[in-house]
Symmetry: C2
Amino acid sequence: MDGSAMVSVDLDILPDLLGYNVRTAQLALQRSFARAMSDSEMGSGLFGLLVLCGANPGIAQVQIAEHLNIDKASVVSLVDRSEERSWLQRRRSTTDRRRHGLFLTPEGMAYLSALKERMRVCEEALDDLFEPEERRQLISLLQRIRP
Amino acid sequence: MDGSAMVSVDLDILPDLLGYNVRTAQLALQRSFARAMSDSEMGSGLFGLLVLCGANPGIAQVQIAEHLNIDKASVVSLVDRSEERSWLQRRRSTTDRRRHGLFLTPEGMAYLSALKERMRVCEEALDDLFEPEERRQLISLLQRIRP
């Protein structure tokens, strides 16, 4: 414990800013997620990529960018890391041979299934903080904030 | 417009996860903030650092880390960048000469004042999304999520 913790800090305008509150909550969730995954590289981007590829075999990178709200360069970097770890492959789409799509490998499917189970436990830990109705309310308010 | 946008995407478990919803909202806010600031380096960390130094002259780095919910290495990097841009200085604390504290320079104070004004406009743009009571509710629910 540092002596400075005894001094109270004036947060000025920060507590009234939506930006500060969303960012602080996001950092706390990210930390508990990384702990639960025991994988320092595993963040919400990589998790989202694997979930979307699992539910949408052949999905295009542009669709990943759109639904994870990240830019295309970030998607390419996530896809590269997932390919290196043998979780997914870029292949020609089965429905449109001009397009390339993303497909989980069998290792990727097994890993995703373990990740989802750990994520379920992680989210359940939040149930202590919110009544079911409050949780629905929070998600519905957050969903109004869109790019 | 890409043809793939016509294909609907199954988001699987993502829309029910607090983690995904908080992250997606945070990315949207971060983007609108960076646009408003017209400064690609200006993020919530740098903004928070300047606000805390402005309101608490001589604040310690460990207190910045605690209140912005980031690790000490990240604080050092933010402080270095702010020193390079002449917005703040590390100096000996006036109350405890064993400690070093952070102080805004006159340039830093002027810049912070402009930043706060732009942030106010940024947050006001969100008023279209929420009734005042909903906004208070959202902030209060987010504040329950802490490290």
